[in-house]
């Protein structure tokens, strides 16, 4: 057991640092640090910078143009990029679809789609959830009926994150009503430009249109867009979910958010002292920091235990629950820290280059909006209740 980085790992960390110092545009890190709205172009710009360096496919093997990094290297990269306030890597192509295509896609699909994920030609979104199928994902109703060399897709997906930016959507669709619900699901790739696809924004409680409803009305999809075998989509869907959860602990995000909380607590005055010196508040910060320190190691232990290139199994449920609870607690403390300035909501001030002044300190509004927005962390990617269910069945065998 040795918690210290090896010399190679230290050298790698320094390499990541100097890369970020040189290549991460200040404009982007300022936006992330300032809680400003990121545009599609912002994400694309950062993806392209990483891709130039060969660092976009963080979880991908080298043969597909990925980094081939091991768990510790990925951890270092995550900690450094979040600390430098880089935009996040949009997960849908890289962390979700990519691994599924590598494992289950045809050679033609791999050759066609994987490079386009890396070079930014395609922006993917995730078409799993439906109004009636959230936690009970197997109950999806969107149908795909075979018609010659096409599928005809009808139905509705919802909660589709950043679907407004997407060129393509990977969907779970029902291709059979026979047998168990899980047995009639297929995994289909759909071009959002196809006639009959309609995207409608959903505004969330932080006032941002981050998710969408996606409607399919007799959408014709080439049969070659089926991934793997018909009616085997559930297997691929679950495989994807474990990958979706690889970085679910969010240790990097939590660490960056904790630093921000400390900075704010050092500036907010309460009873003549900075909040960071208020015994009650300092205790709360310390408490969540202690949890995070242990969590970082739980994360590394779990990831390291999984075979190289594989996602952890049911243990990832543990990471999801603890990781999201910690991030949500940090968000709640940050909201608390800004005091009365949690109240003003001046949406325009989140726009880059806006000359609308924030009310109170500039960190106040992003703190409140993040608190509301990050309630999603314990809902999506399999809710924390569903994760507890998985732990009690798969690990505890209850």
């Amino acid at each position: 057991m040795d918690l210290a980085y090896t010399d190679e790992q230290k050298a790698f960390r320094d390499e990541v640092r100097s890369f970020l110092a040189e290549k991460l545009p200040k404009r982007l890190s300022d936006k992330v640090a300032g809680g400003k709205r990121l545009t599609k172009a912002d994400y694309e710009e950062w993806h392209a910078i990483l891709n130039d360096k060969g660092w976009l496919g963080v979880t991908w093997p080298k043969e597909h143009g990925g980094t081939g990094w091991d768990a510790v290297e990925r951890h270092i990269f995550e900690m450094e990029t979040t600390a430098a306030r880089a935009p996040r890597i949009v997960p849908f192509g890289i962390n979700m679809l990519g691994p599924v295509l590598m494992k289950f896609g045809s050679e033609a699909q791999k050759a066609h789609y994987l490079p386009r994920i890396l070079d930014g030609t395609d922006w993917w979104c995730q078409g799993y959830s439906e109004p009636g199928a959230g936690s009970d994902l197997a109950s999806i109703k969107t149908t795909a009926e075979r018609d010659g060399d096409h599928y005809i897709v009808n139905g509705q997906k919802t909660w589709t994150t950043l679907g407004q930016h997407a060129d393509k959507i990977f969907c779970l669709v029902r291709t059979s009503k026979e047998g168990k619900p899980q047995e009639g699901i297929s995994f289909l790739l759909i071009d959002m430009e196809t006639p009959g696809v309609e995207v409608r924004p959903i505004v969330l409680i932080d006032g941002e249109a981050e998710v969408n409803e996606v409607w399919f009305d007799n959408v014709r999809v080439p049969a070659e867009n089926l991934v793997g075998e018909e009616n085997k989509g559930w297997t691929y869907a679950k495989y994807l979910l474990t990958h979706e959860r690889t970085n679910i602990a969010g240790v990097g995000f939590a660490t960056a958010a904790l630093e921000e909380l400390k900075r704010i607590a050092g500036r907010e005055m309460s009873g003549g002292l900075p909040l960071s010196q208020n015994a009650l508040f300092a205790a709360k910060i310390a408490q969540v920091e202690i949890d995070l320190m242990a969590m970082a190691t739980t994360n590394l232990r779990t990831v390291a235990a999984a075979a190289a290139g594989q996602a952890p199994g049911a243990e990832s449920s543990m990471l999801k629950i603890k990781g999201t609870v910690i991030r949500q607690e940090i968000n709640a403390l940050t909201r608390q820290a800004v005091g009365p300035y949690a109240m003003p909501f001046v949406s325009e001030a989140l726009e880059e280059g806006s000359n609308v002044e924030p009310v109170g300190p500039d960190y106040a509004m992003p703190a409140t909006q993040s608190y509301f927005n990050n309630r999603k962390l314990s809902i999506y990617g399999g809710s924390n209740e569903v994760q507890r269910q998985i732990i009690s069945k798969a690990i505890l065998e209850l």
Partner: protein
């Protein structure tokens, strides 16, 4: 002991509930938040016509109520409906402070506030956080009258106010309890400027800047430099009102969530059949009942001696803050994705309830204050 409302209060509660059920909606509140004043004019006129403001003030100030249970009767309904109104700012705080300091001299102002004209309450300042005695704005004697300078922050419904009740320091240092005076400043007075903006959870507020605002001698309300006690009294009442509003918000959230647990099906049954959620909802219910008792405790001690009253202020606000967070977070979680959306009612109620902890002191502020008051 008797936990029943009097007949008068029950009637007020019933008619207010009926009126708000017909008139207030989260959609209307959202629309008004984007409007000029931050509240719905029709709703407000109706509330004024029903004489609700009179219920917040004692008889010697032209009202017909003003006791703790009058406040809780009104504000529990306001919360239940998610209504956004200047009742606390204009009625409990501004008119309330005038009534504390000079009920006879200010009778006309108070009367017009009862009738629905909005008074702004300009006390909190940047950097004050929740400290009631933090007043850095200054008032200097000037000729026959006064000259005021300073900044006031998050002044609720400022753009709707026809006049502001403003605190300013006539002596002492920024955090002293002594030396705070109260002035009445009509909107539009030279030297007064306002930047207004929407609030999370609905309504609007403004940053008020006073730059050499020149006032007549009569603008000073009550004794010079001795307003702290009255400020504390009206804040005790405002905290009682806000806590009752929070309770009403919680009740509606509970109703929405229970309905959702019964109606939403996953895995072939209502999600309310999952024990994991049943137990959590049971805990939510327990905390809401604790919140109700805390509100009753405060309402019942508003007329008590200062230390007793203030211990209850802090106890109640601390508990409301904690219960509020639990209710907000659990209700959103148990709704799943739908709980995150602006177009569903829950979001409005959840945000309003969250903001309760950012007014008149949060749960930690009142925990520390409770400890200090208990040691005294």
């Amino acid at each position: 002991m008797n936990f029943e409302l009097t007949d008068e209060r029950r009637m007020l509660s019933d008619s207010l509930r009926r009126y708000l059920a017909d008139t207030a909606s989260f959609e209307a509140a959202a629309k008004a938040t984007e409007g000029e004043t931050g509240f719905d004019a029709t709703l407000w006129e109706g509330i004024a016509e029903m004489g609700v403001m009179g219920a917040l003030l004692p008889e010697d100030a032209g009202g017909f109520g003003g006791a703790g249970f009058d406040l809780t009767t009104v504000f529990e309904e306001i919360g239940r409906a998610g209504a956004v109104t200047p009742l606390i700012e204009s009625g409990v705080l501004a008119a309330g402070l005038l009534a504390e300091l000079d009920p006879e001299g200010q009778a006309e102002r108070i009367e017009s506030a009862i009738g629905g004209r909005v008074l702004g309450f300009a006390h909190a300042e940047p950097g004050a956080r929740y400290d009631l005695s933090h007043v850095a704005a200054t008032a200097e004697a000037s000729g026959e009258g006064w000259r005021l300078s300073g900044r006031k922050t998050v002044v609720g419904f400022a753009s709707a106010a026809e006049a502001f009740v403003v605190t300013a320091r006539t002596s002492g240092e920024a955090a002293d309890a002594e030396g705070i005076s109260v002035f009445l400043v009509p909107a539009g007075t030279e030297g007064l400027s306002l930047r207004d903006y929407p609030l999370n959870g609905g309504g609007r507020a403004g940053e008020l800047v006073l730059e050499n605002v020149t006032l007549a001698a009569s603008a000073l309300i009550g004794p010079e430099g001795a307003a702290h006690e009255a400020l504390e009294t009206v804040h005790a009442r405002a905290t009682c009102a806000l806590s009752a509003e929070a309770l009403g918000l919680m009740e509606t959230i509970r109703g929405l969530t229970v309905d959702y647990l019964q109606g939403r099906k996953q895995f072939g049954k209502p999600i309310g059949k999952f024990q994991a959620l049943q137990h959590r909802m049971a805990d939510v219910l327990i905390e809401i009942e604790q919140a109700r008792s805390a509100v009753i405790n405060l309402a019942g001690h508003l007329e008590a001696d200062r230390v007793t009253r203030e211990r209850h202020v802090s106890a109640t606000k601390n508990l409301i803050g904690r219960a509020g967070r639990l209710v907000v977070e659990e209700s959103i979680q148990m709704h799943g994705g739908i709980g995150m959306t602006e177009e569903y009612a829950l979001g409005h109620f959840a945000k309003r309830l969250t903001m309760v902890d950012h007014r008149f002191g949060d749960s930690d502020f009142h925990l520390e204050r409770f400890i200090r008051l208990s040691a005294a």
